[in-house]
């Protein structure tokens, strides 16, 4: 509900609550984040069915088995799907127009079986497009270490 909406018979009540959440990501994601700091993309592999999870996950859903094997994944991949964002969420929690539309892509990295999501900087995006990672200049141990994807050619 926006503050400036002119509503009748509606009172706005502020609640004196400040919930704090401290989500644990778990050891599998920790190892992924540690890899990103060194510009390495680490995935976990199911020893039974061979599926490669990127980002890594502890359990292969299909086999109900721990994924104990680690593989380093290339920086290159293929766009599976994409969209164009026209708005973003501003610091005040409200939507704000973007100066230019921003592409967001689901990318299947070579040698991985699952998808990563990040921005895509390209003039003519298409599904099936070959892309590579553009690293942040100082990759932190967080997902934004991958700044965006760019076309390979």
């Amino acid at each position: 509900m926006k503050a400036d909406e002119d509503l009748q018979n509606v009172g706005r009540v502020g609640l004196p609550l400040a919930p704090a959440f401290n989500w644990s990501v778990g050891n599998w994601m920790e190892q992924f984040f540690d890899g990103l700091k060194e510009r390495k993309i680490m995935a976990s592999k199911c020893g039974l069915c061979g599926r490669v999870f990127l980002p890594p996950r502890m359990i292969c859903e299909r086999c109900f088995a721990k994924t104990e094997e680690w593989v380093e994944i290339p920086e290159t991949g293929t766009v599976e799907a994409f969209t164009a964002a026209h708005v973003r969420v501003g610091p005040d929690g409200e939507l704000a127009d973007l100066p230019e539309p921003q592409l967001i892509a689901l990318v299947k990295h070579d040698e991985a079986d699952t998808l990563l999501v990040a921005g895509l900087v390209a003039k003519n995006a298409s599904a099936g497009m070959r892309v590579r990672v553009v690293w942040n200049e100082t990759p932190s141990g967080a997902l934004d270490a991958i700044s965006c994807y760019e076309p390979m050619d």
């Binding site: 919930p19 050891n27 502890m58 859903e61 109900f64």
Partner: protein
């Protein structure tokens, strides 16, 4: 209605903070232990029933995130959440599934990872209707804190009411904590393990909110519990000594939550818990138990606060009202006693909230199956009662377990 039996139980270790695993991974520990205990694989289970507290971790639909970690791949999945009773309701849901004949084998999974979340904020979402209405009328938020204060805010009124009606003293509360925390010391999955604890130690802990001291109140735990239920027929093929769930019953009373507006007016004394007596009576009747005081071998009442162990012992019809403090003094509730109570250590020692009421059923099942290890009670357990308390502090859930099916 078909016979239903527990054939496998799994618990994670319960601690304050598990930072090395996420929610789905923590729950996996209990789930994989349950499959192992039952000697089954997820492929041999027909459905998954799960639950945790609403909004406590700030994660909606945690079951959809965790499902794959819990062997749910391409299987029916149902989440049940009823407040403190959640785990009990999950166990009941699993019972319904098998008893009805719709499913042969199901896994019940309940959990809480309190360190990830904000339990006070979670509780506040439960009473949000009241809070919003009161603030709308200009009530000072600090007054709300004095009334609310999380579950303790209800429990203290309940405790003083129960103490007045029963003659229970603070000394009895201290002894309840000793009973539970020393039992917990024998349970490798329990959170607060205090071997050698004395009533004096408990009496010296800080006062939290009159009449309860810190020593009378549960910890906030990260933990999970899973239990595999199947038909009586299949259970007998899987194990020599399954734990049959003879009956389940639940009962929702009028609101006993303190508030003015919205849904939670204080219509009844939270110390009464008549719905527990009604649920217990129904459960015993369906289980074919005529004289619970003599037939029940073991009780796992849901007691995050010390007075509740005594109050619910009475409301589970195991003695007259007002008699439980004397039963406690007699030693009958101890691990080697006539009717051991909370050999697991109870909720006052371990409280991963959503899991707690399922863990009462799980403990009863393990005791009947003879799989409780160091906290196995001395006597043979033929019949046990497991309880949960929650909802808007007005819901009680009761399950009766036995080493034989209903006649």
């Amino acid at each position: 209605m078909r016979d239903v039996a527990v054939v496998g139980v799994g618990l994670s270790k319960h601690v304050s903070k598990r930072r090395d695993v996420n929610i789905a991974e923590l729950v996996w520990e209990a789930v994989s232990a349950a499959y192992e205990d039952a000697g089954l694989t997820p492929g041999e289970v027909d459905g998954v029933i799960t639950g945790n507290m609403p909004a406590f971790e700030g994660v909606n639909l945690p079951e959809c995130w965790g499902a794959g970690h819990w062997g749910t791949y391409r299987k029916p999945l149902l989440r049940i959440t009823t407040g403190g009773t959640t785990g009990g309701s999950v166990g009941h849901g699993a019972f319904y599934a098998v008893a009805s004949g719709l499913f042969d084998t199901v896994i019940a999974i309940a959990f809480e990872k309190q360190s990830d979340g904000d339990s006070t904020a979670g509780l506040n979402t439960v009473i949000l209707a009241d809070i919003a209405a009161l603030l709308g009328f200009g009530v000072d938020p600090s007054l709300l804190l004095a009334f609310g204060g999380g579950a303790v805010g209800i429990a203290v009124y309940q405790a003083s009411s129960y103490m007045k009606s029963s003659g229970c003293t603070t000394h009895h509360l201290d002894k309840v904590s000793v009973l539970c925390r020393t039992n917990a010391a024998k349970n490798p999955h329990a959170h607060l393990q205090q071997p050698g604890l004395t009533p004096d130690d408990v009496a010296k802990t800080d006062l939290m909110q009159y009449p309860l001291r810190f020593g009378h109140v549960c910890p906030a735990s990260d933990g999970a519990c899973a239990m595999i239920l199947t038909t009586g027929e299949r259970a007998r093929k899987l194990t020599d000594r399954p734990a049959y769930i003879r009956s389940v019953a639940s009962c929702s009373d009028e609101g006993a939550l303190i508030g003015i507006g919205g849904s939670g007016t204080l219509n009844v004394d939270p110390g009464r818990q008549e719905s527990c007596k009604l649920a217990a009576a129904r459960a015993y009747e369906h289980a074919g138990i005529k004289d619970p005081r003599n037939e029940i071998d073991l009780a796992e009442p849901y007691a995050p606060f010390a007075h509740q162990l005594l109050m619910f012992y009475e409301r589970l019809l195991l003695c007259d009202e007002g008699e439980a403090p004397a039963v406690l003094n007699s030693g009958s509730m101890e691990m080697a006693g006539e009717l051991p109570v909370c050999p697991s250590g109870g909720v006052i020692s371990t409280n991963a909230i959503g899991a707690s009421a399922l863990e009462r059923i799980a403990e009863a099942a393990m005791q009947i199956m003879g799989r409780a290890g160091e906290h196995q009670v001395q006597k043979d357990v033929h019949k046990a009662v497991a309880h949960g308390w929650g909802g808007m502090v007005n819901l009680n859930v009761v399950a009766v377990l036995a080493d034989t099916p209903r006649g």
